[in-house]
């Protein structure tokens, strides 16, 4: 716990964090603005679920993985660049302790961004008004979706965290983040069970019919057939493998 508190303390006055928050806010506002500008008679925005899935897609399809990739890279690489790692090892902080505290911070960041966007959506629901399904049950349903996204996307990004721990610069892990996203953008349906980010979509689709529709729009109409438990196993297997690799790299390196 102390490690996580300290990790958060390190982010004081950090521009990257504030920029990520500002962009998240803008993405949320963009969805709300769309909800305000489209009539409730249009099938594009006749339900509150249209608003929250739009904001969710805006956030998690590209922005969240990229933001988390950059955040993870800065989180790990800055320690190396500022030479603070050696000060930490001398204390001593174990390599796995440091790794898990940083991953915890990445998950926390992801959850905060999702809950923040969720709050904007709920606010937007009131502002835009006239949503017939704007009730506690739908709001709760959307909250679960946001929490799931917030928790699973960072775990799906652990291969990028590995790149961040093993690289000697910002370039490779940030470049890898984009490369990691490309196949998911092109053919998510065919990568479920293999690519963690695509597998996350498989889990969303099992949550509710609204989420299933949202995923279908991502997969260009292909219906997800893979079971959510298999998707979950795939995400965690890849995550565990890259966690082990990251800790090995941290242990083997000279400082």
């Amino acid at each position: 716990m102390t490690m996580i508190v300290v990790e958060l303390q390190k982010w004081k006055r950090n521009k990257t964090v504030w920029s990520i928050f500002a962009l998240t806010f803008l993405l949320g506002i963009f969805a709300v603005n769309r909800a305000c500008s489209i009539s409730r008679s249009s099938p594009l925005m006749d339900q509150f679920s249209d608003l929250y899935t739009l904001a969710f897609k805006n956030l998690t399809s590209l922005f969240l993985p990229i933001a988390l990739g950059m955040f993870a890279t800065t989180l790990f690489f800055d320690e190396q660049k500022n030479d603070t790692l050696k000060e930490l090892w001398i204390i001593p902080i174990s390599k796995s302790q440091l790794y898990f505290s940083k991953v915890a911070v990445i998950i926390l960041m992801s959850l905060i961004l999702c809950v923040f966007t969720f709050a904007i959506c709920v606010g937007g629901g009131f502002i835009a008004g006239d949503f017939p399904d704007f009730n506690t049950s739908t709001v709760l349903q959307s909250f679960v979706l946001y929490l799931l996204g917030g928790g699973l996307v960072p775990i799906a990004m652990l291969p990028i965290v590995f790149m961040a721990t093993s690289s000697k610069g910002y370039g490779i892990p940030i470049g890898a983040t984009f490369l990691y996203l490309v196949p998911v953008v092109i053919a998510p349906a065919y990568l479920m069970g293999a690519h963690p980010l695509a597998s996350v979509m498989g889990i969303y689709s099992s949550l509710s019919p609204v989420s299933a529709d949202m995923v279908r729009s991502w997969t260009q109409g292909v219906t997800v057939t893979l079971s959510p438990s298999l998707c979950l196993i795939s995400i965690f297997t890849v995550g565990i493998v890259f966690t082990i690799l990251s800790i090995i790299v941290l242990r083997k390196r000279s400082y």
């Binding site: 102390t2 490690m3 508190v5 300290v6 303390q9 390190k10 004081k12 006055r13 950090n14 500022n82 030479d83 603070t84 790692l85 050696k86 000060e87 930490l88 090892w89 001398i90 204390i91 001593p92 902080i93 083997k252 000279s254 400082y255």
Partner: protein, 307 residues
């Protein structure tokens, strides 16, 4: 159990095909300042990094406080304070905020420790200046403050006066001396500046191209390098007897079967020569020598480079 706080046994580091540290055995005694002297790139920092587990040891072993450090970092490291190369801190935080982070992570730091540590090194407490705006000297001071924050028994300081101005260097020297003399800390310090080590260290290890060329007490080294009369004679043992009986000489050393060093330079060389010749001992040469520490280091490292 021995009296060594740090003892390395055949410590070796190989990077690729390059031997950076070659079978080094250093012995740092409790309560003393051990100066590791060598040129830039001699292997001083690598030795310190291996002691602190910052770089894997290729072969050999490091004992700190009488125990092998491998696997005992959690017990041993809290008793050590260190600066290796330039101190690393978070640039977006102030000095106080940085130290508070390390104090929190150490968990064993007493109340006001941050304030006290900053006072000791002459940096302001709760100052608003960010670490990124610090001068090199201020960064070095903050590094020292971090190293002493938890009142460690052993300090490992890699070129701690780097970047300090002359007054800062003198202050740092006094501070290190005080830590050793008044607080009984054991200190391993590295430098490429001979004069700095000569003023500070009780014991010295000279390293060059990864090899520990000499390990000795400063007292012994100074003795080796004081003024002396170099005498080359045909029969050293006979000459020694004459010097002892006729000149009541005790302070001398025999170097080979022809060479003697007489450290009492007040003796009259002409008188000595006369006494030896009378006793049928041929005097090949006699001269007053005055090696400095620098000459000595140059001699044993086989070149220049130590300022």
């Amino acid at each position: 159990m021995n009296n060594f706080v740090i003892e390395t046994k055949q410590l070796t580091k190989v990077y690729g095909e390059q031997d950076v540290v070659k079978a080094v055995n250093i012995h740092v005694k409790k309560g003393r300042i051990y100066g590791l002297l060598g040129r830039n790139g001699a292997g001083k920092t690598t030795i310190m990094k291996m002691i602190l587990g910052l770089t894997p040891i290729t072969s050999g072993k490091v004992d700190v406080f009488g125990q092998d450090i491998k696997g005992r970092e959690k017990q041993v490291f809290p008793r050590i304070g260190a600066i290796i190369e330039t101190p690393g801190f978070y640039p977006n935080l102030t000095g106080t905020e940085n130290l508070e982070i390390f104090a929190k992570l150490r968990g064993t730091v007493g109340p006001n420790a941050v304030k006290k540590a900053l006072e000791v090194v002459g940096l302001p407490y709760k100052d608003k200046k960010l670490f990124s705006k610090y001068s090199l000297g201020m960064k070095q001071r903050l590094g020292i403050a971090n190293a002493i924050l938890h009142d460690p028994e052993l300090l490992i300081l890699d070129e701690p006066t780097n970047g300090l101005d002359p007054i800062g260097i003198a202050e740092m020297r006094n501070f290190i001396k005080e830590l050793s003399v008044e607080r009984g800390k054991t200190i391993l310090i590295s430098s490429h500046i001979l004069s700095e080590i000569a003023l500070l260290a009780d014991d010295i290890g000279i390293i060059d191209h990864g090899l520990l060329l000499e390990e000795n007490s400063m007292k012994e080294l100074k003795k080796k390098n004081r003024k002396y009369i170099l005498l080359q004679v045909s029969d050293v043992s006979k000459a020694a007897l004459i010097l002892e009986h006729q000149f009541h000489l005790v302070d001398y050393s025999v170097h080979d079967d022809q060479t003697l060093r007489i450290y009492d330079t007040c003796l009259d060389m002409a008188e000595i020569n006369k006494a030896l010749i009378v006793q049928d001992i041929a005097v090949i040469s006699s001269q007053v020598c005055n090696d400095t520490l620098e000459d000595y280091f140059k001699k044993i490292t086989g070149g220049e480079g130590i300022a």
